[in-house]
Assembly symmetry: C2
Homo-oligomer: 334 residues x 2
Amino acid sequence: MQLKRPYLLFLGDVPDRLAAKTAQGIKDWRPEHCLGQLRLPGCRADLGIRDMTLEAAVEQGARTLVVGAVNRGGVFAPSWIEAIVKAIGLGMDVATGLHTRLSEVPAIAEAAARQRIELFDLRHPRQRFEVANGARRPGKRALAVGTDCAVGKKYTALALEREMLARGMQATFRATGQTGIFIAGRGVAIDAVVADFISGAVEWLCPANAPDHWDLVEGQGSLFHPSFAGVALGLIHGSQPDALILCHEPTRTHLRGLPHYPLPGIQPTIDSCLAHARLVNPAAVCVGMSVNTEALADSEAEDYLGGLEQRYGLPAADPIRHGMARLVDALAKI
Amino acid sequence: MQLKRPYLLFLGDVPDRLAAKTAQGIKDWRPEHCLGQLRLPGCRADLGIRDMTLEAAVEQGARTLVVGAVNRGGVFAPSWIEAIVKAIGLGMDVATGLHTRLSEVPAIAEAAARQRIELFDLRHPRQRFEVANGARRPGKRALAVGTDCAVGKKYTALALEREMLARGMQATFRATGQTGIFIAGRGVAIDAVVADFISGAVEWLCPANAPDHWDLVEGQGSLFHPSFAGVALGLIHGSQPDALILCHEPTRTHLRGLPHYPLPGIQPTIDSCLAHARLVNPAAVCVGMSVNTEALADSEAEDYLGGLEQRYGLPAADPIRHGMARLVDALAKI
């Protein structure tokens, strides 16, 4: 599975920026793959890139219409369907991360069959995976783990890749969620894989590689999040990490979606993730902390990160505010 | 999903007993639901119950043909298809735990549609589950966990249920694998659920109940088996166990299917399972050990179990050899 690029980013008629955050992520991390945006009347999101019609986009080489917005209830509005069918008629592939499959919409399925173009439902992986074999494989791998869901694991892995590539290191971001897959052009929506194959799918995603090549694996969930811990553990076992990066959001008071569950501590999270990682890679270490400090003022963020460094003896940085240079320094020593 | 009973157990033409072990498990634990067995020419397995033709079985009230045997490659042989289609023609439901879906065989799908009977592919759950919410719920739950796959978790849960019911306690075996589902008539093949919903499916399987009712939950995999640990963790979180029973097979030298992975120790397995269980139920305890001593002579088994009890300070028994009376004594104190 490889999405064809460049993309035209479809925002539909979403009511705010948040509903277009998938498209925003693609534009932030891979502007070179984004030819423009397509917005329907009433759209309140704006990525700050060129508005283009479908015809203009195709003329300028757009290969895939990326449905990079979330609709109410995860279904396709009639106005969206019209635009998608038109894109297919012009020869573009279509990719979406919505729960509803593109092929469940008859008009879209028929247009795709007629034009012989591909529909990519990233939430519904089509590959068949093997059961994980746990065999040691060459290449280095770092996995972003977290105290919770949505604390910046994807941005951490992407920022590590960016820093490594800037230094001339061999590095590949490995996507495990929809937005990550749009950014990388390939990957596995690991939470949508059948449970028996979680770690097998991760082994497939980050296979044997050159000894000095780094895979930067996007983490999901948390070992301490009772809704999604199985996915988090399968990622740890499947990625066979040499290094863990602990991701955290300091203002979060409870687990995402579960107000009755307080956030776990940083040290217990590191300890538990490392213990499980060492089953598949006895040399696994935690090299540092990546903290989403968006909610803090500059000086507060500096104080907080300095405090973490002192307490845990590991580098701590915000992937957006500071980049991952200090964590890559630590990874480069492995 | 509820399988209609009684069953006619279909063994096909399997070459040995092992290939019919699903049917054997149903017959061992629910003989009252097994009207008879149907064997094709050349079948080398025998459950020791009545051989019946399809016609005789239907006449005597059989409601479901249970394909309780494994074929080479998990597919349906032509001779099996003929018998299954005939059963459908006579008005029986059909249920299987094979990887291949019944509905993927055109002759079977057509016959089922014509007769309006139900096909149950236990490896392909049709329910939609919710994401787990982790909320505390009433009722007591015991979960069988293990040092490895296939160490007797299902038999442990079934033997606990049998002992509790014999004492007049309220108890329900909760099935999480194919054989268990045939035995209970309902359940979820948890390894076939989409990863995001593992613990949610388990919450659905063993919901809120009367305060003194025990759910005995069939475990799967092991936290220390890198192929399946995600499923094991989702079971721990979803079942919110009051009690864990550690299952073990003492002659096993390496993890099932992974010769390069030694078996984990009993104490680390208990410690890790308990630590994760306490996230969702701070009062969780390990009440004892259930050991498959089939490979040991009587005196060896006694010595081994005595040694375990001394070392860990917990009751240890073989669910087949000794039953689970001593573990139920411990559970009854919770």
